[in-house]
Amino acid sequence: MSAPESEIEGRLAENILYFARLLRSAGLPVGPGKVLDAITAVRLIGVGTQSDFYICLFSLFVNRNDQRELFEQAFHIFWRNPHFMERMMSAMLPTIRLEQEAELEEMSRRITEALATGDEKSRADTELDKVEFDAAFTYSQREVLQEKDFEQMSAAEIAEAKRAIASLRLPIIEVPTRRFRRSAQGKQVDMRATLRAVLRSGDGIPLRFKKPRRRHPPLVILCDISGSMSRYSRMFLHFMHAITNDRDRVHGFVFGTRLTNITRHLRHRDIDVAVEKAADAVQDWDGGTRIGECLKQFNTIWSRRVLGQGAITLIISDGLDRDEAKGLEKEMERLSKSTRRLIWLNPLLRYEGFEPKATGIRAMLPYVSDFKSVHNLNSLTALTEVLSRP
């Protein structure tokens, strides 16, 4: 406490500023007003214990429960070692950055990305632009990204694509249920409402009508995570997470040599936590594929539990089967009979002149109602059109 108080406060304010910047690039809505509020608030409570400080910043910077995880990680990384950020800021040269990779490993990927962005900005400030960096995107680059194959994307492009996927919405066709709601355009008489109207009007019987409520059917996604799909599978995990959190009644499964239900893991709001938990649950990442065996597991154990009420099934797979398509045809037939629609998304389909030569693909094709390519952002968006068909 030898330094004059104002200087400490100045440094604290500066650190809060950096911290806010970190949160902002990690995706939290932290505006400049919030930063000023935070500095005022910290002044008010005084520099006391760390938990007071934490709660103070938390109450200002976080406004939804699903941001908590992110905030917590950012807070501990940033404030446990107050010089960390400075080091990050000064760590401009790739050699130094390598040293710090181990330290970064434990961090949430989004925090890491956020740190990397801050890193790049400070470099721009000091005009060290001879080092190539490709994290920032302009609009024209985004257009290119739409067309680019997931397989050929750089790490930064993948990150950008994941962000685009996170905001993806799939308008699945809504089907009529057996529940009703009042509607002037309805065809059936709503007796309850009619009777009330009779008592009110006192003259004749003013008919009131109702029509069926509509609701989207459940969606079941079966995603191949075997070795041949490895460049795509993580992307599809993000895709599954985005849909799961966008609507109810979505069930997610991944398969390679065995089938794993990751629905509960995907329900986690934070994508990094969700993907991490899903990855923990899965034991056959990047291994072989036994599509027939996995579909059989799905049919016997899960289909009767998740395919009720007219569900739509999406299979994401390249159809390359290690088992030479053993038993695959029979399982596909059963699956196609127990679901409203069976849609197959295949990244291999992007190649012009794709011919279904592999036995697995030939066994599966007769039973799908739609066969679509899925290898870039555009094709994911095009899914919208398929799913909104009756």
Binding site: R178, R179, F180, R192, V198, G202, R305, V306, K330
Partner: protein, 312 residues
């Protein structure tokens, strides 16, 4: 009230005894859960494959306790009008017409009149709140998984307070909460919030000994050798890789079918001809019929003769 309470079993053994009086052969775990559900006044949530005797528990319970059984069969689109109450619109219309013909122009009074309990049609959930002399009824909510989530949410409200609010009349509260049994075939997962309020029991396939007791209880006249072979065969069948394993209901059907055909023991032909009583999927039947059935039968016979020599 005290007479009703004494009606309920006072121990796990008493619960087992109560069920066996209704010729329901229960395992101890089921009896324990049921006993706790009755004692704690919580709904009993029974989940299991089709045909393992979930619905039967409610029926036996109501018969053994002498309570009314109120059954709500769930289906997709089940709504308040068919589950809780509905107004008798036709009668209301007539009432209004009659009032008009009589020159009654007091609309307000008329509204109070036609929206009274006289014009109310009570559906199962509302009926279940009414006790009679024997005590509160047994409410069976069957195959809850067939209905949709909104209904489940509505049920949550009823199951926690045992009261129903009808806007035109007011709140109707149960004098004594009914005994609630909920069953699910698990064609979808029931929400955790509902499960949390219930005591959960997974009704599994019975072991050979218990299944034999069930056959003996349900088909008293059956040939002993036949029932032993039938049960042993079905038990082996449940280890096979089938799409739908036969439940207890199928065992009983099959045993009954074979009795109708005057069989006293199993043979290959009899199995092949009656397999439809046991397996309900063509793939499964094709897999078992013929040589596979013969192989299983061979094993069954060996097992039973081995049993005989040990026992005798």
């Amino acid at each position: 009230m005290s007479a009703q309470a004494s009606n309920l079993p006072i121990s796990i053994e008493a619960t087992l005894e109560l069920l066996s009086r209704g010729s329901y052969v229960a395992g101890r775990s089921l009896a324990t859960t049921l006993f706790l559900a009755l004692k704690m006044g919580r709904p009993l949530f029974l989940e299991g494959e089709a045909g393992v005797g979930k619905t039967e528990i409610a029926k036996v319970l109501s018969a053994a306790l002498g309570r009314r059984l109120i059954r709500l069969q769930c289906y997709e689109g089940l709504d308040v009008a068919s589950a809780v109450y509905e107004w008798n619109y036709a009668r209301q219309m007539i009432e209004i017409r009659l009032a008009e013909a009589a020159g009654n122009i007091d609309r307000k009074g008329l509204a109070d009149d036609v929206f009274s309990s006289e014009f109310l049609i009570e559906r199962p959930l509302l009926q279940a709140l009414r006790s009679d002399d024997a005590g509160p009824p047994v409410l069976l909510i069957d195959e809850l998984d067939r209905t949709d989530e909104p209904f489940e949410a509505y049920l949550l409200e009823i199951l926690s307070d045992f009261q129903i609010t009808i806007p035109e009349i007011g709140t109707i509260k149960a004098d004594a909460p009914p005994i609630v049994i909920i069953t699910s075939n698990r064609t979808r997962e029931i929400h955790d919030a509902l499960k949390r309020r219930c005591l959960y029991h997974w009704v599994d396939y019975p072991n050979a000994e218990r299944e034999l007791q069930i056959v003996a209880a349900k088909l008293p006249g059956i040939n002993k050798q036949l029932s032993q072979q039938v049960v042993a065969f079905v038990q082996r069948l449940r280890d096979e890789d089938l799409f739908k394993l036969p439940g207890v209901a199928e065992t009983l059907d099959w045993a009954d079918a074979l009795t109708q055909l005057d069989r006293v023991s199993l043979d290959g032909d009899a199995i092949d001809n009656t397999l439809g009583a046991l397996l309900k999927y063509q793939d499964d039947i094709a897999k078992i019929r013929g040589s596979e059935a013969a192989r299983l039968l061979e094993q069954v016979k060996m097992e039973l003769s081995g049993h005989g020599s040990v026992g005798g």
